[in-house]
């Protein structure tokens, strides 16, 4: 089975200048995991995930804390500052997005998508045709395609 047979074709996309509040609303409204960021020609520039959205509230050094975080429960001032968090409107999709996106061609096989998801520990893959985004495939789509057809 090919990717194009089981991907979602109506992809919601945003552009580089979409604000963070709007992004949050889209996530909430559609219950999706990633939002592809595209240019005018629908070319994929990057993706924004729910996890990336949270980074606005986290200090940049979080990834070097290593085992240290196990020891700390009360983060003091870092928590107090939520209310006065940096002006959210200032953050745009282009500030948040990852540019190094793992994607898949629409004619690739399903098992390749499953392999990519396993290797990169991700649940969503943008689907591409001639560099333009044409769909989105999720882990659930693949599971459904692989297990759904097999009646007990």
């Amino acid at each position: 089975m090919k990717i194009k047979d089981c991907m979602a074709k109506n992809v919601i996309t945003i552009n580089a200048s979409t604000g963070i509040k709007r992004i949050y609303d889209i996530f909430k409204e559609h219950g999706i995991g990633i939002l592809p960021v595209v240019d005018k020609e629908k070319k994929l520039l990057g993706i924004v995930t729910r996890r990336l959205l949270m980074n606005v509230f986290l200090p940049e050094y979080v990834d070097i804390l290593d085992g240290l975080l196990f020891a700390i429960n009360d983060l003091g001032a870092l928590e107090e500052e939520f209310d006065q968090a940096p002006a959210l409107e200032l953050f745009l999709a282009e500030d948040l997005m990852i540019k190094d996106v793992v994607y898949i061609e629409q004619d690739a096989s399903l098992i390749k998508a499953a392999m990519l998801m396993q290797k990169y520990k991700i649940h969503n893959l943008p689907v591409i045709k001639n560099e333009k985004i044409v769909g989105l495939i999720t882990l659930s789509d693949i599971c459904e395609a692989l297990f759904g057809g097999q009646e007990q």
Partner: protein
Amino acid sequence: MTPLIVSAVVFLSTFYFILTEKINRTIVSFVGAVTMVIVGNFFGFYSQDQAIESLDFNTLGLLMGMMIIVSVLKTTGFFSYLAIKTAKLAKGNPWRLMVVMGLVTAFLSMIVDNVTTIVLVVPVTIIMADIMAISPLPSLMTGILLSNIGGIGTMIGDPPNMIIASASGYTFNMFLAKLFPIVLLIMIISLFILRLIFKKDLSRKPRNVKAIMTIDENLALKEVKVVKKCLLSLAVVLILFFLQERLLFSPAFVALLGAGLTFLLVQPDPDKILKEVEWSTLLFFASIFVIVGGVQNSGLISLLASKVSVLAQLNATVGKLTVLWTSAILSPIFGALPFTVSAAPLLKSMAAHGVNIEPLWWMLALGAGLGSNAIPIASAAGVIGMAISKRTRTPITFKSWVATGSIIAVVSVFIVSLFVWMF
């Protein structure tokens, strides 16, 4: 005459490329080393065997042995544990936090390499400051500067000291006796100067002191058994270093023995541990040794030594001050490590001209070490510390370094000069 010129050209062009930093220093020095052997063979002043002989295995082995022990220790969370425990001693007082974090970094740097110390202690400093809503900059800067100063205090604290130990044959205890007291004094004076510099930041009232006291450092420790085994190996290494005069063990042998003991006790996955060893640093070292060996074999160093010796014999104080300030100025420019490797054979051959070089070795160690605080890129601790600080709200800039590190560098070299002048 040709060997002199050819070796000087290879040496100077290698140092030029190290200085410009356009190409990675390990690649530059490796190419330089190979070139030196080629031209040495061609002009007949440096054979392949002589190149191998010029590799100072005493320094390389010492460095590698210590790197292996630390690589095992750093996976255990011990450094975070130690840093949290120390930070709690400050009881939320910003000035005291700066002092204890500076001191813990300094004392760790005396045994462990500076980069490891910075990478593991600085995150604790930063998050402590963020929890208390104070600026991390004072503790961060103090940690980096004191790591460079503290490393001068022991034979194994800094690579330049390791090179000096190997070239001079001085023991661990001699380094302690000659360098530790003055290093301690410089550390204390630096702390008070930094207090003045950071007066505004330090006067901010910290919040959430309670949150600091609820941190449980024991939860940062991942493998208590491994920690104990590593500390045992380190203790054995230190004891053997203390007994160096009696046992006549070379530093490299002691460190490798410690690495062997760690391997035996902990039995980690060697591939994983060896990945943590900084092979590029070791290769850089080895290459510089080969290059300087070429210069030495061409006769250039003994020629220079005979000229410099005349100066040094005129007046002992002037000789000492010249070595101190030359080291302090040139090592930030070329890197303390290549500078020391080049200066060591020069000092050695000055002894042949009747100069008393013992005090000059200590001047070299102090100059190379203290000078590395002058600019951020002069020390590995500075480079790494600055990179980490970029992730905080108050990154260290070149400008803020000049207002702190450069001042500390100049003042500390002046303190040493004062001692030289008085005694």
